[in-house]
């Protein structure tokens, strides 16, 4: 496959980069200009944000989404995320994105791997929670959008495959 048909972006985030917490914006900027993705930036943002936030919150920091459901839990959860990143002494997240042009549309693969030993990838079950649940629905939503979610627990990585449709009109 020549470069015209496939584009790869890999971003490795060390502790300093994780503290800046701008990985999602960096990935979107790196993929800017790919015609097949132009009308699908919202999906791209959602996919990368869900996988990256899961890796930070569950993988590196060991936070459990169920805590969001307790009184004041939502605020406490994000306060713990900020505090956890500020005091992080080691950890790494790698984001790999591959966009392959297809005869119709494109195929997008996003893989996020974390070095954490907190709540591993296996616990991020893509079940569909109740509509009233304050959290724990990221991977279930990805599946409902038609993405294929593959969890590699030993490697602490989650991969999303998404068939990017051909843009018709304005998305």
């Amino acid at each position: 496959m020549d470069r015209m048909h496939r584009r790869r972006v890999a971003i490795v985030l060390d502790v300093d980069a994780l503290r800046r917490d701008d990985a999602v914006a960096r990935v979107l900027a790196a993929l800017d200009g790919i015609p097949e993705l132009r009308a699908h930036r919202a999906e791209l943002f959602f996919i990368v944000a869900e996988l990256y936030n899961n890796a930070v919150e569950h993988g590196l920091l060991g936070l459990g989404s169920e805590a969001k459901g307790e009184p004041g839990g939502f605020e406490a959860y994000y306060a713990a995320r900020s505090a956890g990143l500020a005091s992080l002494s080691s950890g790494r997240i790698r984001i790999d994105v591959e966009v392959e042009k297809r005869r119709v549309g494109a195929h997008l693969r996003v893989r996020v791997t974390d070095s954490g030993s907190g709540l591993g990838a296996a616990t991020r079950a893509p079940r569909a929670p109740a509509p009233e649940a304050r959290g724990g629905r990221g991977l279930a939503l990805l599946r409902s959008l038609g993405a294929v979610v593959t969890i590699d627990a030993p490697a602490s990585s989650v991969t999303v495959d998404y068939a990017v449709p051909v843009a018709i009109g304005v998305s």
């Binding site: 919202a42 943002f45 959602f46 936030n53 939502f74 959008l145 998305s171």
Partner: protein, 98 residues
């Protein structure tokens, strides 16, 4: 500002531009908990092209707050992706979405 609020009599409107994600959670909560006498909260997402699942959690917190005061919550969106996310999360059963 990604989050701006506008109060007109009993209606408090939150306008969110660009990204509706967890980075807004503190401002979002402060904006509705600091107000009294609100009968309708409007979350205007017409300028928000991006959202993640934490935004759904924030909408639910607003709904819980509104239920406690007998107020209603409306969501405005023109973005097809945001609409898809809200539908996938079955938020059409919990909110009025226009």
């Amino acid at each position: 500002m990604p989050l701006t609020t506008h109060r007109q009599e009993g209606t408090l409107t939150f306008r969110i531009d660009d990204r509706f994600d967890f980075s807004l959670h503190r401002d979002f909560r402060a904006a509705h908990e600091g107000q009294s006498g609100v009968s309708c909260y409007v979350v205007d997402l017409t300028g928000a092209g991006y959202m993640d699942s934490s935004a759904l959690g924030m909408l639910l917190l607003l709904r819980e707050w509104a239920q406690g005061t007998g107020a209603e919550v409306r969501i405005l969106t023109r973005t097809s992706f945001v609409r898809r996310i809200l539908a996938s999360a079955r938020f059409d059963k919990l909110f009025r979405i226009d």
